[in-house]
Amino acid sequence: MTEESDKQRRAGTAVLVCLVGAAVLGCGMAVVYWTTGNIGLEGGLLGACFLLLAVGLVLWAHHLLPEGPFVEEYPDLQSPAAEEASVLATLHRGGVGRRRVLLGSIGAVAVTIGASLLSTIRSFGPSANSLAHTPWRQKRVLVDSDGKPIKMGDLPVGAALSVYPQGFIEAPMVACMLIHLPPHANHPLPGRRAWAPGDYICYSKVCSHAGCPVNLYDRVSMDLECPCHQSTFDVTRGAHPVFGPAAGSLAQLPLSVDPDGTLRSAGDFSEPPGPVFWHWSKGVAGG
């Protein structure tokens, strides 16, 4: 008896040491907060405080508290059949279950209310629903991210630059990659021969896979790569995907040149830019 008491007394002392230590560390956290505000110290002290508290409580539980085995019966979950029958009878009180027509009507009303309430989610959407058109349609001047118009000759051969429609730099789905290809490198798709004047070619930067900006250009292989999922597009062949999870080409932007050499779009993209969706070929989000 005495021996066990001794053991327990020692355990009690250990617990006390832990608790006092935790209190000191906790105060330390407060001091750091009010003085230097160093978050490493704050987190370390508070964390150590809690860990010491945990150790103290574990020691307490292990050495000083009753440890079983205690036994308890699992409950009998299934009720006797008579009780079940009585519940079912109660549910039918007043012949509720017999009035099929009325119950059916309640169901119909519930569906109606549900449907009309659900239809209010329309408020969450925007008023216009076209994904087909971008500001490029209005034959806008190509500008860089600072808004400076791009002219023929601004880009050395092999270089690539992110471009935007003048006045719409932050608009959705407009970002493009303008690339100055070496002569004769381009193999334009049918009908796109005139889209790349002076070997300047322009593709949407919105990846056809998951919509990340495709902004890694390899001037040797003449590929555009998406940094998110590594889809790779061959810019000399209509930005056709050559590797990775993307199945479609990047949308191409037709270019034209003003008399002073300024580049501008000759119309909207070859197809809706970015990832495809159900109504994609119609270019409309909701059909």
Partner: protein, 506 residues
């Protein structure tokens, strides 16, 4: 004897509520002793830390997409345009005293929360704790995992930094890829074309109100069901389907549990104080035209990222309609994952024909089929998670993207077969090893009320055959497990299950 204030308070409550019976039952409630039964609790404590730190952060966070030009104290961002959400998170990180500590604790808590939930779920799976009568709690648990991952994603997306913007852009594209409803879904959920000016506010309402409230409600239900059905236990001396052996809620179990809470809190504060996480000021604000190499989501969405990267480019054109390649990797795979998780208890019941209630857990080695399946599935998702950081691994291991992608595609199919087979073999070799003096059926009550279930696979006795005295490990090794009897047995079982199901249908 209890101290005077406690006695007075207890008496006052009892006069009004008649609380003594409930209190006595509650304090005597018994929990089985096993460290792995504490995992769910650890997750709950992470959630509590998340709520507390989250409330703290909410006071400083500005959920708005208004464009501002930064003029604050962090000079490298001076003059940059950003949304005010990003500005407020930079403010929390740089100017609010202990702000960065709380933010990092919050982020670490989210990462740990989901990690612990998955460990908890794995424990439930491998020990068969999801079986009748606990299928409802499995369904609630899977829903909690789903909500936690969703809330992790919305939280990651709130600060308006480059990483969160890219993650949202991908989320938008996935929503858009749903056949028929995709365009509408993306439009309604994200408030128009990406990025809209309503996005941050919507995510905010979901992140701090709707989803946490759902988690809280379901967590309460989860605990209430455990309370009602009592916890499962491993087989052992005196433990039966009828008798639960363990420690009482008060004081032993309560002390342990509070100690666990303190340990989780301590760990999170040490991580939050000393280990940097999500330094959004280094990523910079999001602009739709910007991207970064090595963009990584939080670890728990890595498997979806991996699925996006590895899936072959399959795009369908049906009439005038288009099914995006993203639909398979971004909707079918994650959706299927959760559907199969929801369905698992019922699929296993169909397979084994075991409709009995169980309070005693399986040892994973006793259910080699289930264990092998679990190991294989975990392997597949681990490979997908690695694939989510494919570019980073490729860079550090000096590998080209193409061979890495093809290798990972092979691994996601091949590796689970290998690890599953290894798990199967290990289980079978271990199964013969006697387990201490356990599984002693106690009293007529246990054997009468719950006869032992039909085993998932041939049980130990069947496995050892008539020569039960043989050295079991050797038996396992020499027998090879491919005896015609066993194969035939499995085939018969498939046939009879199918027959029964079809018969039921007709």
């Amino acid at each position: 004897m209890a101290a005077r204030p406690i006695r007075k308070l207890n008496a006052a409550m009892d006069e009004r509520l008649g609380s003594q019976h409930f209190l006595k039952t509650a304090l005597d409630h018994i929990f089985p002793d096993n460290w792995s039964f504490m995992l769910g609790e650890a997750a709950m404590y992470c959630f509590i830390i998340l709520v507390l730190t989250g409330v703290w952060l909410t006071f400083f966070f500005d959920p708005s997409d208004t464009t501002v030009v930064y003029q604050g104290s962090y000079l490298p961002l001076h003059g940059e345009s950003m949304n005010s959400a990003y500005q407020s998170v930079v403010h929390i990180s740089m100017d609010v005293r202990a702000g960065l500590l709380i933010r990092q604790v919050h982020h670490w808590a989210a990462d740990l929360f989901i990690a612990v939930i998955i460990c908890h779920q794995a424990r439930i799976f491998f020990t068969g704790a999801f079986r009748k009568p606990r299928e409802i709690n499995w369904l609630i648990g899977v829903t909690l995992l789903l909500l936690s991952i969703f809330n992790g994603f919305t939280g990651y997306s709130l600060p308006g930094d480059l990483m969160s913007g890219l993650g949202l852009r991908i989320g938008y594209s996935i929503a858009e890829s749903i056949p028929l409803l995709g365009g509408w879904t993306a439009y309604l959920f994200f408030g128009g074309q990406f990025p809209s000016n309503e996005l941050t506010h919507r995510l905010f309402v979901l992140h701090v109100f709707v989803v946490p409230l759902l988690i809280m409600g379901l967590l309460g239900l989860h605990l209430a069901l455990i309370w009602r059905q009592k916890h499962t236990q491993f087989p052992g001396t005196g433990r039966t389907e009828r008798k639960l052996v363990g420690s009482q809620l008060w004081p032993t179990y309560a002390f342990r549990s509070i100690a666990l809470m303190c340990a989780v809190t301590g760990l999170l504060f040490i991580l939050g104080g000393l280990v940097q996480i999500n330094p959004i000021w280094e990523y910079g604000p999001y602009h739709p035209y910007m991207a970064s190499s090595f963009a990584q989501p939080d670890w728990y969405t890595g498997w979806m990222e991996g699925s996006l990267r590895l899936f072959p480019p399959w795009r369908l054109h049906i009439g005038g309609w288009t099914v995006s390649e993203l639909f398979w990797s971004g909707v079918v795979i994650p959706g299927g994952t959760f559907l199969l998780m929801y369905a698992y208890p019922f699929l296993e019941r169909w397979w084994t024909g075991d409709h009995l209630s169980h309070n005693l857990l399986d040892r994973p080695r006793q259910r080699s089929g289930r264990t092998a399946l679990g190991v294989a599935v975990l392997t597949a998702y681990a490979v997908l998670t690695v694939a989510g950081g494919q570019d980073v691994f490729g860079y550090y291991l000096n590998l080209q993207q193409a061979p890495l992608t093809f290798g990972l595609r092979g691994a996601v199919i091949g590796l689970p077969v290998i690890t599953g087979w290894i798990a199967w073999r290990v289980c079978r070799d271990l199964r013969g090893v006697p387990v201490a003096p356990t599984e002693v059926p106690e009293g007529p009550a246990s054997s009468g009320a719950t006869p032992s279930p039909k085993p998932f696979l041939p049980d130990r006795a069947a496995w050892q055959g008539p020569h039960g005295k043989r050295e079991p490990a050797v038996a396992a090794a020499t027998n090879g497990g491919r005896t015609p009897a066993r194969t035939g047995d499995a085939l018969t079982r498939v046939a009879s299950r199918l027959g029964r199901t079809l018969g039921r249908g007709g």
